[in-house]
């Protein structure tokens, strides 16, 4: 934990990395749901690109 900084920044739905973060998980249902959505969109985008 000492080598990696964990962000405690405010929740910004426009800046959610598709790999998520502990900071997002710590936000609970709101962060988790938003991340899942980004992840799902990202996956869909990848699938579409493959097609």
């Amino acid at each position: 934990m000492s080598d990696v900084k964990v962000k405690r920044e405010l929740f910004n739905p426009d800046k959610i990395p598709f790999v998520g973060s502990l900071g997002l998980l710590a936000l609970g249902d709101v962060g988790f749901t938003a991340w899942r959505k980004v992840k799902s969109d990202h996956k869909q985008k990848e699938l579409n690109e493959k097609k």
Binding site: V6, L22, L25, A26
Partner: protein
């Protein structure tokens, strides 16, 4: 919005030894803020320290023998299998049942155990909600018993995080060199993924409820710190010899990472509650993080619990909670009573815990009822038609096995069931041992000795040795020791301690010392230093004892018994201040430690602080009333000393009150009959029946009224005493009816004189001094003084019998003005006959 809400957050295994350094490094800002605005202190755990038992004690205020949760697993009702422990094993009501009955709303998330759910007013997301398959190809359907109300399932089902969803962004903060792990050889990363996902699921449900529901009480339980500690504490700095360097480098931040993540989740929860909400954060036990960490777990039941430390943490803040103050003596069983008190609800007298009033800014006296279990009404009690399959959970069982809490189940289920039954029974015996209920423990242990292979009997014999020593059955203790030696047990007991303990108890401390001195050559632990220090004390080598005990405390400052023993030795060396300090530290660590309170009382008495010595002895006596005769006697001594200074003050108005009842009282043989006679001759009407005739002891008559003797049963005759005088002896005074006004003339006489007079009157030798009666009389006088002050209808003056004889005029003036009526003082004076003063003590 609801007021007076309380949020209880459980952090399994959280320990101050890890928290304080992180707070000072600024890595746990949310907890720091709460501490600064509230109280903090140690949380004392119980034996055996198994989490489902402990968290149920938190929720019920009762010890496991009463609440019924005795381990990690239970046998299914059809007796065909075993499964992770469920709510069905709990046999008493928890906080949320009580709140339900009172129309309050509770939310419960992840509590261990809370599956199957109870139909309470509020929401329960049970401890099975977050348990999911690791395999992404396997579905984990949600059990209908995992959520209450079930129609809320759609709101929560998508809030479960699966272990396979965990990414490197989640794992790296705990293991920055995670990519170096050979996952075929080390399961660390998969453990991290599972712990993060499960705890995030719990947190998701909790934040959802915090955001969207109304509640009065909410409890959330996280096992993250405990699970991280069990998996990675061996890699926590400083590196222990024998730990693989590469794994150490990879996982050394894992434990602290779990605390930091827990703090981040705490920060979120704090942002979702209002400032009027009271918050409690607590753990059920601590976790060894220093030199006592165990690298090779011994083969004993629930072995990982050996790494649990006696003290967990407790923090609380809220509108009525003190600010930035350390509190002492919090125990797991105190949490439920303290929470009930917060809500203004009574505490069950059958609860083992007490309200910790020290945490509150403003306190009121706790209220009690016999038992919440005996209350009628709707408590949302579990009415579960048990179907073994519905509650079984292979994945959770597997996790318990992986954590080492549960042995890998035997392929033969009958053996697994048998072992489970035996373990639960042994746990119950250990609970009784922890409560010092040796008889109950013994019954279960002796029963367990009937078990046959593959059950290992050695642990039962070890516990029986403890009991035999307590019962001073030394021969039996030695027999049990031999049984352990010959049992072929796989458990590596350190029998040297047991042997030396038996010898010590047998009064052979030199032989015991020899054994330990030999062992010390290879073992420099605090335990051995303490035991040798204790033996040196027994042998009268106080100075050497102090040195050894101080060294033991240097190595482990958290052992209450070390501090108490050092206090005991220092008392022998007349070092009273230091002794008081060590006794205090011992009490700070463990509140329910009668001996430490007793030692503190002794030190304070020597220092002349009698008031506080009295409190300490009272506490010692209260905690161990049946056995602690020393504390009882010390308390009596201190009370006697205090009573020497007791002032008997008059409480009087000197105003005549209409229909007042004049009472002459005092201890028997203190001059009450003489005063009655004086009042009678002075013109007062006396309520007497003349049934007791004059005799040698009272030649001028007793002036008594027979119904007084049964005043405790019937005091209705008091209306006849209005505007009259009646004699009521001191022990019966507090039975008078508070609807009348009383003027009490209380006769005082030297207690020793009274006793001599009484001995003579009943034909006993005056040379035999009745010590017990003397103490009783002292207590009675103290009680009268207290009673007088709190009774608004009572006025009372003290009249010394000797003054009646020697300063008769002054006494008559005092009595007449007290009664508030004109009286014939001359006639009163004529009653005094000094020749009747026959039992003056020769000083």
């Amino acid at each position: 919005m609801k007021k007076n809400k309380l949020l209880l957050i459980g952090w399994d295994a959280a320990d101050w030894n890890i928290i304080w350094p992180l707070i000072s490094q600024g890595k746990m800002p949310a907890l720091k803020k709460i501490i600064e605005n509230g109280v903090y202190g140690n949380m004392s755990t119980m034996s055996p320290p198994y989490s489902p038992m402990l968290w149920t004690s938190v929720a019920t205020g009762k010890t496991p023998d009463k609440h019924g949760i005795l381990g990690f697993i239970e046998v299914t009702p059809d007796a065909k299998s075993v499964r992770p422990v469920t709510t069905t094993s709990r046999k008493t009501r928890a906080l949320w049942n009580i709140f339900h009955n009172k129309g309050m709303k509770s939310n419960l998330v992840g509590w261990w155990p809370s599956f199957p759910v109870e139909p309470i007013n509020g929401t329960i997301i049970s401890d099975r909600f977050q348990k999911t398959h690791r395999n992404p190809n396997k579905q984990t359907p949600m059990s209908e018993f995992a959520i209450h109300p079930w129609d809320k399932k759609d709101e929560f089902k998508d809030l479960r995080m699966f272990a396979f969803e965990t990414t490197e962004a989640h794992v790296y903060p705990f293991a920055p060199r995670a990519h170096e792990v050979d996952q075929d050889k080390h399961k660390g990363l998969s453990a991290i993924a599972k712990i993060i996902s499960e705890n995030s699921s719990v947190h998701n449900a909790a934040t959802k409820l915090l955001r969207t529901s109304e509640w009065d009480f909410m409890a959330v339980y996280y096992d993250m710190i405990d699970h991280f500690c069990h998996s990675f504490m061996k890699y926590h700095p400083p590196k222990l010899p024998g730990v693989d360097q590469k794994n150490y480098d990879i996982f050394k931040d894992a434990v602290t990472g779990s605390y930091i993540y827990q703090d981040m989740m705490l920060e979120r929860k704090m942002n979702l509650i209002d400032k009027d909400t009271t918050v409690i954060i607590m753990s059920d036990h601590g976790f060894e993080s220093g030199s006592k960490r165990i690298l090779n777990m011994p083969k004993v039941q629930a072995a990982p619990s050996l790494e649990h430390r006696q003290f967990g943490m407790f923090v609380a803040s809220g509108p009525n909670i003190k600010k930035n103050e350390k509190i002492f003596g919090m125990g797991l069983i105190d949490v439920a009573p303290t929470i009930l008190h917060h809500f203004g609800l009574p505490i069950g007298e059958d609860m083992d815990g007490k309200v910790n009033l020290n945490i509150f800014k403003e306190t009121t006296a706790p209220q009690f009822i016999e038992s919440w279990d005996k209350e009628e009404g709707d408590f949302a009690d579990l009415d579960f038609k048990d179907e073994a399959d519905a509650l079984s959970d292979e994945d959770t069982m597997q996790q318990l096995v992986e954590l080492g809490y549960v042995e890998k189940l035997d392929e033969k289920f009958e053996i697994a069931i048998k072992k489970t039954r035996v373990d639960l029974k042994h746990n119950l015996a250990r609970v009784f041992l922890g409560k010092k209920d040796f008889n109950s423990a013994k019954i279960h242990l002796l029963d367990l000795l009937k078990e046959k292979a593959p059950i290992d009997l050695a642990p039962f014999y070890m516990d029986l040795i403890t009991i035999a020593l307590h019962e001073k059955e030394y021969g039996q203790a030695n027999k049990y020791l031999e049984k352990v030696k010959n049992s072929g047990t796989e458990i590596n007991y350190n029998l040297m301690y047991t042997e030396s303990h038996i010898l010590t108890e047998m009064g052979r401390p030199r032989e015991a010392l020899k054994i330990l001195e030999k062992a010390r050559l290879t073992d420099g632990s605090d335990k051995i230093l303490y035991n040798i220090g204790k033996l040196k004390y027994q042998l009268g080598d106080y100075k050497e004892s102090v040195k050894l005990l101080e060294k033991a405390i240097e190595l482990d400052s958290q052992k209450a018994i070390y501090h108490a023993t050092l206090a005991e030795v220092l008392l022998q060396l007349d070092e009273y201040e230091e002794a008081a300090d060590y006794a205090m530290t011992s009490i700070e660590l463990v509140k329910y430690f009668p001996k430490a309170h007793f030692l503190l009382g002794q030190a304070l008495e020597k220092l002349g602080d009698l008031e506080n010595a009295k409190l300490a002895f009272e506490m010692a006596n209260k905690l161990k009333p049946k056995e602690f005769h020393k504390a009882e006697i010390s308390l009596e001594n201190v009370i006697e000393k205090l009573e020497l200074d007791l002032k008997f003050d008059d409480k009087k108005s000197n105003k005549y009150r209409e229909n007042q009842i004049t009472i002459v009282s005092g201890l028997p043989r203190s001059g009450t009959s003489l005063m009655m006679q004086m009042l009678n001759k002075g013109g007062m009407d006396c309520l007497v029946d003349g049934k007791r005739e004059a005799d040698d002891s009272n030649p001028k008559g007793y002036y008594e009224y027979e119904p007084v003797m049964s005043i405790q049963k019937d005091n209705s005759w008091l209306d006849k005493a209005q505007n009259k005088t009646v004699k009521i002896v001191a022990p019966l005074l507090n039975k008078i009816d508070d609807q009348y006004r009383y003027k009490i003339i209380f006769m005082m006489r030297d207690i020793d004189e009274i006793l001599k007079s009484q001995q003579k009157m009943i034909g006993r030798s005056e040379d035999v001094f009745p010590v017990k009666l003397h103490n009783e009389f002292q207590k009675l006088l103290t009680n009268i003084e207290v009673w007088k002050k709190k009774e608004p209808g009572v006025e009372l003056i003290y009249v010394n019998y000797k003054d009646v004889l020697n300063h008769t005029d002054d006494v008559i003036d005092k009595v007449v003005s007290f009664i508030g009526k004109d009286m014939n003082k001359e006639s009163m004076k004529k009653c005094v006959d000094k020749s009747l003063y026959r039992n003056k003590i020769k000083k």
